[in-house]
């Protein structure tokens, strides 16, 4: 699961990274956002959205994306 700060909510962590990259000579960087990655094995992948809604993400402030690998 990839969990990201919702669009429109101030993401100071992303901003700090965005400011740091040019300082190292990496130019042309924009729209940096820092989120979370949760990896897990699950028997029933249909449970994943509920897991995200109830615990892994806070839907008020975060979006989540589920990536399944067989």
């Amino acid at each position: 699961m990839l969990i990201r700060p919702k669009a429109g909510i101030l993401d100071p962590q992303g901003q700090a990274v965005q400011r740091a990259l040019p300082a190292l000579g990496f130019d042309g960087v924009a729209n940096v956002h820092v989120g979370r990655l949760v990896e897990l094995d699950v028997e029933d992948p249909e449970q994943l959205p509920a897991m995200c809604e109830r615990l892994l993400a806070n839907p008020l402030i975060e979006d989540y994306e589920i990536i399944e690998q067989a």
Binding site: I9, L10, L55, N58, L60
Partner: protein, 216 residues
Amino acid sequence: MKFGVIRFPGTCDDVDAQLAAARVGEAELLWHRDRDLKGVDAVIVPGGFSYGDYLRAGAIARFAPVMESVVEFAREGGLVLGICNGFQILCESGLLPGALLVNNHLKFVFRQVQLDVVDHNTPFTRTCPPTLSIPVKHTTGRYYAPEPVQVVLRYAPGHNPNGSQDDIAGVVNNAGNVFGLMPHPEHAVDALTGSTDGLAIFESIRAAVSERIPVA
């Protein structure tokens, strides 16, 4: 009256909260695995780093057995005060609206702040003066709510320590019996540490309980 102060693994302000509450009533600690609230008149969810604040501040504490009892207690109109991490837990548990995000400057902040009490018509602020001087100490204190909320405390102009939306420092739920705030009234109860303004919050609760003011 009797206060119950919840202790999770990682809570660190439980004893200060207990000592502060004990200045106006009885106060005992409630263990996170214990569903029994022991007949307390008000519950305090104190500050700290419950369950290491893993995932998000307060995200795991909301599923502690004691929180089921606290949610039930709140539904029945019981008074619940969440301080700092306790505020985060109450938001995560849905007892309060909104969420707390990392400070806009990304740094831990520890300083005395001036607060404007913008609503005295709550069981938590009824005996408060118009302004309070109380310390904050947090990294995740930037309040955010997409919908209008019932604001009780605001940081005074120039005192917003974290980028909180509309200078919000504390809110109540619609019913008015659940209150969360980022500043620490339990750290402002003795002149030795610079301010006794925090006592007014505990005294308000005692007054509300003793007069059995019905919650709206």
